[in-house]
C-alpha cells in the first residue's frame, strides 16, 4: 500500500550544543523518498541526536529538523507521517506485544485492526500474547519495526536497526527497508558500520563529530573514495613489467609475488599482456575496502579537528 503522505526529512543548519560539548554542528541535508538513505558515522558522531531532533524528542540549539517542512509537533497526524524505532529494547517488559501495539495504535488514531496486521507483517502473530520482556533481541527488533509502521507512515527512521541481529534478522531487516523504499517511502537508517550500508543503502549521509562529511549516492561515494587496482600474476614478471611501462601503466610488486597496476582496468592489462605474449596466471580487479575508506576519512578529520 502506498504511503498516504510522501515527505522528506530536512535538516537545516541543525545544531545541538550541550553544556560541555557540541553533538551536532550545523548539519544541512535532505532525505528523499523512494530510496534507502544510510546515516553513517562512528559512535558519538551525533547520529542519534540528529534522529531525535527529527522526531521532536530533543530540541535543537539552533537550526531546524523538519518532516515535510514542518516540525513533527506541528503535523496534524504525526503517526501517519513518521514512524521510528530508536531502541528496540525500549519496551515495557511486562506488557504483551499486542497491548503495546494497541496502545501505540490508539495514540496514533489507528483502527484496532491494524494491530493484528502489523504483528503478522513482522512475523510475530504467534507471540502476540507474550510479554515483550520474554522476547529475544531479534523479536524486539521486529516489534519495534511493527510499532514504527503501524500508522503506515511516509517516513521511517531506524536507529541502528541491524545492531545485534543474527544474519537471518539482518537479511530480513534489509529486505524490509528496501521494500519500504520501493513503496515510495522515505527511509533513513543509521549505522556506525560501513559494511551494513553497502548492501542496504542507495544514498549515504556521512557525519563525523557533528559535521557533514558526505551526502551522495552510495555508488558515487564508493567511486570517489576508493581506487580500483588490477592484480596480476605471471611466470615472467620482468617482461610484463616492461610491457606495462611501455604502455604507460605503472606496476609495482605487492610483496606476495603479484604485480599491482593502478589506474587501469583488467581489459587494459589483459590487452598489454596478450600483445607482448606474456602468460598470465591471475588477472583480478581489486577495490580498496569501503570500511578502510570510511575509517581513513573519519580519522583524518579527527587529526584536523
Amino acid at each position: 500500500m502506498p504511503p498516504s503522505s510522501p515527505a522528506v526529512l530536512q535538516a537545516h543548519a541543525l545544531t545541538k550544543r550541550y553544556r560541555r560539548a557540541v553533538a551536532v554542528d550545523g548539519l544541512t541535508f535532505e532525505v528523499r523518498p523512494g530510496r534507502v538513505t544510510g546515516f553513517l558515522g562512528p559512535n558519538g558522531a551525533g547520529k542519534s541526536t540528529t534522529l531525535r531532533m527529527f522526531l521532536g524528542l530533543d530540541r535543537p540549539t539552533s537550526g531546524a529538523a523538519t518532516v515535510g517542512g514542518l516540525r513533527l509537533a506541528e503535523t496534524p497526524h504525526p503517526a501517519q507521517v513518521v514512524g521510528a524505532m530508536l531502541d528496540a529494547r525500549a519496551l515495557h517488559p511486562r506488557r504483551t506485544a499486542r497491548d503495546h501495539l494497541a496502545a501505540v495504535a490508539a495514540a496514533g488514531g489507528m483502527p484496532r485492526g491494524r494491530v493484528a496486521e502489523a504483528l503478522a507483517r513482522v512475523g510475530l502473530a504467534e507471540a502476540a500474547h507474550r510479554p515483550a520482556g520474554e522476547f529475544s533481541l531479534g523479536m524486539k527488533q521486529r516489534l519495534g519495526i511493527a510499532t514504527a509502521l503501524i500508522g503506515d507512515p511516509g517516513v521511517v527512521i531506524f536507529d541502528e536497526p541491524l545492531n545485534g541481529l543474527d544474519p537471518e534478522g539482518i537479511r530480513w531487516a534489509r529486505t524490509l527497508m528496501r521494500d519500504l523504499a520501493a513503496e515510495g517511502r522515505t527511509v533513513l537508517f543509521s549505522s556506525h558500520l560501513m559494511g551494513e550500508m553497502e548492501l542496504t543503502a542507495d544514498h549515504l549521509v556521512v557525519i563525523h563529530r557533528g559535521h557533514l562529511l558526505a551526502d551522495q549516492p552510495l555508488a558515487e561515494f564508493i567511486a570517489d573514495r576508493t581506487t580500483e587496482h588490477v592484480r596480476t600474476r605471471t611466470p615472467d614478471r620482468a617482461r610484463l613489467h616492461v610491457a606495462l611501462s611501455r604502455a604507460g601503466l605503472h606496476a609495482r610488486d605487492d610483496g606476495t609475488g603479484a604485480l599491482v597496476v593502478t589506474g587501469a582496468t583488467t581489459d587494459d592489462v589483459g590487452h598489454v599482456a596478450a600483445t607482448a605474449s606474456v602468460e598470465l596466471s591471475e588477472l583480478t580487479a581489486v577495490r580498496d575496502s569501503l570500511e578502510d575508506a570510511f575509517l581513513a576519512m573519519t580519522s583524518t578529520r579527527k587529526d584536523a579537528a
Binding site: R59, L72, P78, R89, A90, R94, A107, G108
Partner: protein, 251 residues
Amino acid sequence: MNLLASEWIKARSVRGTWLLAASTVVVTVVVSLIGVSGLLADWRAALPSDFDPTAIAFKGVLVGQLLLATLGAQLITGEYASGQITTSLTVAPRRAALLVSKLAVAVLLALVTAVVTVAASFGASQAALGAAGLPTADPTDPATVRALACATAYLVLTAVLGLAFGTLTRSSSGALAIVVAVALLVPALAPGLPGALGDLAATYWPTTAGQSSYATVASGRLPALTGLAVMAVFTLWTTLAAHASLRVRDA
C-alpha cells in the same frame, strides 16, 4: 480521546497497576485496624477527649497514600525506565496532551481505588469500634459524609501528586522518595521547628492540611474544605511544574 484510550491500555496492561491499587485498599484497611486496636488496648484508661471515630478509620491513609502516589508516578516513570517514552512522544509529540491523558487515567484509577479504600477502611474500623463497645460514627451524619468525601479526594490528589513528581524526577524511586518526604517526613518533623515556623508547618503543610480535611472533630486547625483546598493548590502547582518540565526538557 485517542490518547486517553492509549494511556488506559498502557495502565491496564501491566500488572503493577492492579497490584498497587489492590495493596492500597488492603494496606489502608489493615493499618486503620491496627490504629483501632491500639486504641482498644488502652482506651479504658483514657479515651481521648477529642476522640474522633471517623478520623481513626483513616489512619491507614498515611501508608495508603504512598502506594497510590506510586501508582500515579508509575504511569510515567515506567515509560522512562523502559525507554518507551520516546515511542509515546513520537506518536504523540504534543507533550501537554500526553500529560493530560495520563492525569485523566491517574484520576480515574485513583478515584475507583480511593472509593473502595475509604469505604472498606471506614466500614471495618466502625465494625471494630462497635464490637468493642466504643462510640461509632454515624454514616448518615453530614459531617461523616463530608469526611468520607474528603478522604477520597485527598487520596486522588496524592495519585496526581505522584504522577507530577514522577514527571519531574523521571524515576520511580525518585518520585517515591519525594512523596515520602512530603507526606511523612516533613509532617512528622516540621512541627518541631521553633515558633511560628513550626505552627505554620503544622497547619499549612499541604499533606497535613489535606489530612485535616477528613476529621469530624475540629482539631483547632483548618476548616475541612480549606485544608483540602491547600492540598489541591499544592498539587496543581506541582502538576504545572511537571508540565513545564516535560515541555522544556529533552525526552
